[in-house]
């Protein structure tokens, strides 16, 4: 009922990576139908994890580069969900180009070789004729070369670097009065109706490619400019795109097109002419896959909440969308950039009490709302501060950097750091630049703007970082904020969540019938190994036994010598004698539960092992092991210390015999932080401590120690040579803890005071009625 290697395995890759499992597969394939072998190293970039939302820091809205990054990340997420993988059916155009270039080169080389050989065979008369003709042609070529290509080639060589020119020198495009105007924006546009995914085929590394049209200056028939050529902000935005991985200078490979026509501020442009300018872009095609950026939409008197320029199917990244104009899943809401906070450096401010509870800093507030605010101030006194613009400033002081309350003058935006909550009230437009200032200052925004779509609301959970209050409730705003628990306020101020995302978060008790796979790591202690196999095979829930043969110089024993057991037994040979081989996610592991067991652990009884499995079922996301160990802080040495004394506490279990979820094998092999995996293999020690660190770090939970067992003793091991060796061992283990803690950047291990015993363990109860009577001691 077990299979053994039929032949020596081929030379394996130096590390037991995926390649080696495949080899093992092919060698030890025993007619069992194999799963398509996975290649864990070839992976899709994981989609943006929404738990990290808003995580970086509060200032992300302030720097335009980050805004771009945020935008692309969010756009890319939307995009990726639509476009799951590279589209590689068509030939990549760059390959075409290379091929074409090669054809040209090869042709000319051929001609070079043949040319001189052909000529001597011709008659002299003809020869002279040909040579003369040829010389004339040649001269002509040289002449044209001199005059046409020479200066141009100088320019184009500098073209290969980033151009340095003046905005004033850009080409002028004259728009005839009757040139076409795009349709108005189509409100029913969705990704699957208005977006052409087929253009996004050429995207190595799953990044969308963005093309930026070159800058032109648009004038109407009479030569009057259509808009400002480009604003500083839009220039920086385009520069950021151009510097990112998303940029392509090849219009044929682009998936998104960004016009260089600046529509950030609707007030500065002529709507009809700007639309005409858009329509004449070379790949416009009803605006498909074109992306426009706009921060100040609409204009008096009705202030539309989206850009008024007719734009057909173009996507809009806009500040100040309302629910009426926002096309869910198509448009992107962006923050309105504030030039103020970019100019001022604000120090980082942690969560904690502030001088004011609520602050309003906006200068132009509708009189009704200002009344409400003043009323709040009158009612709650010092804790509410309502600022207005300053009327009595001396000459030369920039009024935008000052705010006043009666005669008191405050510096803006610094004053925002003095408050816990800052009001972001809508004006005629929903998007307010003050939101950027407030977030940057680390103040919790109180957004009072009905129907406003908050920036990046598709990927950001604004509830974690802001309070949204209906305009109607404006007068109750103080009470609403007061009712928020202190703990939540601090989380909002922090604007991030320090959550561990346990990969096995679903409370689930796996069925007992599934059983577990025992993995025995062995080198050459065959006799002891066979005893372990025999003992472990007595455990009722064992479903498969896997022997990891870590000795490259010696073959495993012949088939007939192995103990005959009731479950399948497989032997995996490794390429190198590494400790990490025991934690490799072998395809042979079919159960979720894995029992890692050394080849000398023969003292554990069948009851103990079966009970360990039952405990693992109740705690499938933890390491469940027998002897426990502890880490301690050594105050004298100022570092961590490994403790194997029999104490009242446990923070690790030895993996000489431990149950755990097979997913942790995947994590150990492919996701172990830093160089820990190699370090363990090099030192041939501490693989168990590394596993304890890994599991505790990813789950945030403590280990479960099972039964009284305190140590593994093996009859075959001779007593360790004296105390000194033992001492060295302890020092090494302590070193491991310190090394791992520094790599993880934290001490993830959790200390607990309990262990798991069978319900009736050592109770006054008939032994024969107990489920697990045979539990060994110490």
């Amino acid at each position: 009922m077990f299979t053994l290697p039929q032949e020596e395995s081929r030379a394996l890759a130096p590390c037991p990576g995926p390649a080696s499992t495949q080899d093992l597969d092919s060698n030890y394939g025993d007619g069992l139908e194999r799963e398509r072998s996975r290649k864990p190293d070839r992976k899709l970039p994981e989609l943006c994890d929404s738990t990290t939302m808003l995580s970086s820091d509060s200032s992300y809205l302030s720097s335009r580069g980050r805004v771009i990054k945020w935008f692309w990340d969010s756009a890319e997420e939307g995009y990726r969900t639509y476009h799951m993988d590279e589209y590689d059916e068509d030939k990549n155009p760059s390959e075409w180009e290379e091929e074409a270039a090669c054809v040209i080169m090869c042709a000319s080389v051929k001609y070079n070789i043949r040319g001189p050989a052909l000529i001597p065979r011709m008659k002299t008369k003809h020869r002279i004729y040909y040579v003369t003709l040829f010389s004339i042609v040649l001269l002509g070529l040289i002449a044209t070369g001199m005059f046409q290509f020479w200066p141009h080639s100088i320019e184009s060589s500098s073209d290969w670097n980033v151009e340095k020119r003046s905005v004033r020198d850009v080409p002028v495009v004259r728009l005839p009065a009757d040139s076409p105007i795009p349709e108005r924006g189509d409100l029913s546009c969705r990704m699957h109706t208005c977006f052409d995914v087929y253009r996004c085929g050429f995207n190595p590394k799953n990044k969308i490619k963005v093309y930026i049209y070159s800058l032109k200056k648009y004038v109407d028939d009479s030569g009057v400019p259509v808009s400002n050529t480009i604003s500083r902000e839009y220039n920086e935005l385009l520069t950021a795109i151009s510097d990112s991985d998303y940029y392509t200078d090849d219009i044929n490979r682009a998936c998104l097109f960004v016009p260089s026509i600046d529509v950030l501020n609707q007030n500065t442009l002529r709507i009809k002419e700007t639309a005409q300018a858009l329509a004449q872009l070379s790949r416009w095609d009803r605006g498909t896959n074109h992306l426009l950026f706009n921060m100040l939409p609409g204009g008096p008197p009705d202030y539309n909440t989206a850009l008024d320029v007719p734009r057909d199917r173009a996507l809009l990244a806009g500040g100040g969308f309302s629910t009426w104009t926002y096309r869910q899943g198509y448009d992107v809401s962006i923050p309105v950039y504030s030039p103020l906070s970019a100019e001022v450096d604000l120090p980082e401010k942690g969560p904690g009490p502030r001088r004011y509870f609520l602050l309003s800093s906006q200068m132009a507030v509708h009189p009704e709302y200002r009344e409400d605010l003043e009323a709040l101030q009158a009612k709650h006194g010092e804790s509410v501060l309502v600022l207005d613009k300053c009327t009595n400033l001396s000459e030369g002081v920039l009024s935008v950097h000052k705010r006043c309350r009666e005669h008191q003058v405050f510096d803006y935006p610094q004053v925002l750091q003095e408050a816990i909550f800052c009001v972001v009230l809508r004006g005629a437009r929903l998007g307010q630049a003050v939101l950027s200032d407030v977030l940057r200052a680390g103040c919790v925004p109180v957004v009072i703007a009905d129907s406003y779509i908050l920036p990046f609301s598709e990927v950001l959970d604004w509830k974690r970082a802001s309070v949204v209050v209906p305009e109607e409730k404006m007068s109750d705003v103080y009470g609403i904020l007061q009712s928020i628990p202190q703990r939540q306020i601090e989380e909002m101020q922090r604007q991030k969540w320090s959550s561990v995302s346990n990969p096995l978060f679903l409370p689930l008790i796996p069925p007992q019938s599934q059983g577990f796979t025992a993995i025995v790591l062995t080198y050459d202690r065959v006799e002891s190994l066979f005893r372990v196999i025999t003992e472990v095979s007595k455990v009722p829930s064992l479903s498969k036994l896997l022997v990891v043969w870590n000795n490259q110089n010696k073959n495993p024993p012949e088939d007939s010598l192995w103990p005959k057991i009731r479950v399948p037994l497989k032997v995996v040979r490794t390429a190198e004698n590494k400790l990490s081989n025991r934690f490799f996610p072998y395809d042979e592991i079919e159960t979720e539960a894995v029992l890692a067991i050394d080849d000398d652990i023969i003292m554990l009884t069948s009851d103990e092992l079966q009970f360990g499995y039952e405990v693992w079922r109740e705690f499938p996301d933890r390491l469940v092991g027998y002897p426990g160990r502890l880490h301690l802080w050594d105050h004298e040495m100022n570092k961590w210390k490994y403790e194997s004394e029999w104490t009242n506490e446990v923070s690790m279990v030895l993996t000489g015999a431990a149950f755990y979820h097979k997913y942790f094998n995947y994590l150990y092999t492919y996701k172990m932080p830093g160089d820990i995996k190699n370090w363990v293999d090099a030192h041939m020690n501490c693989e168990d401590i590394a596993m304890n660190f890994l599991v505790a770090n990813v789950t945030g939970k403590a280990v479960i120690k099972v039964t009284p067992r305190k140590k593994f003793k093996c009859p075959e091991c001779t007593a360790i040579d004296g105390l000194s060796l033992d001492q060295t061992h302890m020092v090494e283990r302590s070193e491991c803890i310190n090394k791992f803690a520094s790599v993880f950047g934290t001490m993830p291990l959790k200390v607990v005071e309990h262990r798991a015993d069978p319900v009736l363990y050592k109770d006054d109860f008939p032994e024969k009625l107990k489920s697990f009577p045979n539990i060994g001691s110490l």
Binding site: R36, K43, T81, H83, M84, D85, A101, V131, S135, I142, F149, S156, N161, E163, R232, N235, T239, S242, D249, T268, M295, Q328, A364, E368, Y369, G427, A428, S451, R464, V469, P470, K473, W497, V500, N502, P503, L504, F505, L506, E590, E592, F611, E614, E618, P620, W646, T647, N648, K671, K750, E753, H754, R755, D757, V759, L760, Y761, D764, S771, S777
Partner: protein
């Protein structure tokens, strides 16, 4: 001469060739549309005068705009702010009145009515309600305009089944909660998207999720495809390049057809997006099969609060081949997370009609709450928003469920809540034992006896408060405001515990704050003979309940028991104290899906007096209790080592 000529000609020729080579190669290089030299990509120009460019808006410009009056909503369309009158909800509480339906009502309707009545939002009078709920009539019949219609303001029209009566009455300002609404007509933040439920969807409780293990079994096929007739077709990993009906007819080898409504057994479930195919969608969720929706034209259920990116994949049907490749190569970490999330969502919001209705109302309540609504985390992680009441707190760490997720543990101490029933004997020894614990913050005596409480109480190190009870068994589970700590040690006057037992159990509870940690256990079993559940207090190898006469648990469970359980259950608990014990155990198990924890110690357990377990199971819709076979002991418990080493040595006294 000839030779000289020839030589000179040759010379000229070679010279010209040299020139040609010199000239043509650079030209050729130019002819190739240049890949720029490595390291210097051609990009957006660095303008020499970039610093001189004007800002997109001038600082003075914005305030000028802002002096406009705020605008009201536009006609025709509705959003929450403009079409719902929040001021009608007194105290910010949602109260729902169900419009009476004329004529006979179907079973499905009766079910919906029952689940609304069982919810905490139900109101019997239209005057105190702030949401009037109209039920869409069964298919074929269209109901007339209901009374108090008022243009649909503060109305919710509920239609669980797809046969939506078109233009029954002008919907006006009414919200529509409809199964599988199309993306085009759906008003985000105003309408509610419901799942399309099968006819026989259970009213209460509902079938548990089918996921038996966290990660996919290695033998399970990669894909199952939703078929037009219902049912699923599974495709092996190898044939996945050609799975779609009609696209790849020749390759049908390894596929099997499963007619009928069996649940798919695969890692991913491909669901086409043309119609509201929510039946398949729900089946996939229940089976723990990750739904892959191909360009869905319908709004995903409860999309306002549920983050579907954590549980499903929305892909473009135009890129089917790429989608398949991406699914094959998806990293195990993501597969694992998606699978678990499908199960959690199924159990939390979709498995019964009652859950769907309650979720709908909870979403509307959240809109009314505004700032104090559930944070997204509470909606999107176990146990779900229906079980994490925002009225208790909106900060996750105040709940028992999120500590372990975040790697933290509750700090602080515990409050001992001692229930004194008849004959009204003050539990002096117990008070001393509990007050001796270093973790005890306060002692509360809930006096529920006919006899008046004594005027003098023993002096204790911690404050002692006497609360007057209503002489009902469920008294002890009221959210008494006097309880100041997260942890409650619930005790009966006749319990006997030692300080050491209390100390150890509390430390264990800190590691498992969402569970009950107790000393005395009962276990439930299926009684074949009676065809019902039974339970026993006999000592056994496993247990599924701990007695609340001596148990630690989080104070949130008092709030949950009082405010979220139906009245009927609490009345049941009042009938007998053992029923109250069982109720608390049912509740915690239903929320956590985990067994309680037993620690050593405690007095002998009492045999249960009255059988109420079957009634409870019927009310819950299923049996939530989970059995455990382990007990948590101190690390050195009863070990043959020096007593001096042991921290909890008095635990071991026989």
């Amino acid at each position: 001469m000839q030779s000289w000529r020839r030589k000179s000609l040759w010379l000229a020729l070679s010279a010209s060739w040299l020139l040609v080579l010199l000239r043509v190669f650079p030209l050729l290089r130019l002819a190739v549309p240049t890949r720029p030299w490595a390291g210097a990509p051609q990009g957006w120009p660095r303008w020499l005068d970039a610093e001189l460019l004007p800002h997109f808006s001038q600082p003075g410009e914005l305030p000028k705009d802002d002096l406009q009056p705020p605008r009201g909503p536009r006609g025709g369309s509705c959003d929450w702010g403009s079409c719902f009158d929040v001021s009608k909800c007194r105290g910010g509480r949602l109260k729902v009145f169900v419009q009476p339906v004329a004529g006979p009502i179907s079973d499905a309707h009766r079910g919906i009515l029952a689940s609304i009545e069982s919810s905490r939002y139900h109101s019997v009078s239209p005057d105190e309600a702030c949401l009037l709920l109209g039920l869409e009539a069964p298919a074929g019949e269209c109901s007339p305009v209901p009374p108090q219609w008022n243009g649909g303001r503060n109305h919710l029209v509920l239609s669980l089944h797809p046969a939506f009566c078109p233009q029954t009455f002008q919907l006006g300002q009414a919200m529509v909660a409809k199964a599988g609404p199309t993306v085009d007509t759906f008003r985000p933040g105003f309408d509610v998207a419901l799942p399309l439920l099968p006819e026989a969807h259970p009213l209460r409780g509902g079938a548990p999720g089918q996921l038996g293990q966290h990660s996919p079994h290695p033998g399970v096929p990669l894909l199952a495809l939703a078929e037009e007739r219902g049912g699923w077709r599974t495709a092996g990993a190898d044939s996945s390049a050609c799975p779609w009906d009609g696209r790849c007819e020749q390759d049908r080898g390894p596929e099997q057809t499963h007619p009928g409504a069996t649940l798919p057994n695969a890692t991913f479930c491909l669901i086409p997006g043309h119609g509201p195919d929510a039946l398949h969608f729900l089946q996939a969720l229940q089976a723990g099969c990750i739904p892959v929706l191909l360009s869905p034209r319908w709004e995903l259920p409860f999309s306002e609060v549920i983050d579907w990116t954590k549980a499903a994949i929305v892909a473009d049907e135009r890129l089917l081949f790429q989608v398949l490749t991406a699914l094959q190569e998806m990293p195990p970490t993501r597969v694992l997370a998606l699978r678990q999330q499908t199960q959690f969502l199924w159990d939390a919001y979709f498995s019964s009609v009652e859950k769907v209705i309650h979720t709908t109302l909870e979403i509307i309540q959240d809109r009314i709450f505004g700032a104090s609504a559930h944070p997204s985390l509470l909606w999107n992680s176990p146990p779900g928003a229906l079980l994490a009441l925002p009225t208790f707190s909106t900060s996750p760490l105040d709940f028992p469920f999120y500590h372990l997720q975040r790697g933290s543990r509750p700090t602080g101490r515990f409050s001992a809540l001692i229930w004194v029933g008849d004959p009204g004997q003050p539990p002096l020894n117990l008070i001393q034992a509990v007050a001796g614990s270093q973790h005890c913050a306060q002692i509360l005596v809930l006096w529920s006896s006919e006899k008046p409480p004594p005027l003098r109480w023993p002096k204790t190190a911690v404050p002692l408060t006497v609360l007057a009870g209503q002489r009902k068994a469920s008294d002890r589970f009221l959210p008494h405001t006097a309880i100041s700590t997260d942890a409650i040690l619930s005790l009966d006057a006749h319990s006997s515990l030692t300080t050491s037992e209390v100390d150890f159990a509390f430390v264990v509870w800190q590691s498992f704050p969402e569970r009950m940690v107790g000393f005395l256990t009962w276990s439930h079993f299926w009684d074949e003979a009676r065809g019902g559940w039974g339970y026993t207090a006999e000592r056994a190898n496993e247990f599924s309940m701990v007695l609340t006469s001596a148990a630690f648990y989080h104070r949130y469970y008092h709030t949950l028991l009082t405010h979220s359980l139906p009245e009927a259950l609490r009345t049941l608990a009042d009938e007998a104290p053992t029923c109250a014990d069982i109720l608390m155990n049912f509740l915690v198990a239903a929320v956590t899906k985990l067994p309680p924890i037993k620690t050593p110690g405690g007095p002998e357990s009492q045999p249960p007096a009255q059988d109420c377990i079957n009634q409870m199971a019927a009310e819950f819709g299923s049996m939530p209790l989970v059995s455990s076979r382990l007990r948590l002991d101190p690390v050195l418990f009863k070990d043959p080592v020096s007593v001096l080493r042991k921290k909890y040595r008095s635990l071991e006294k026989p």
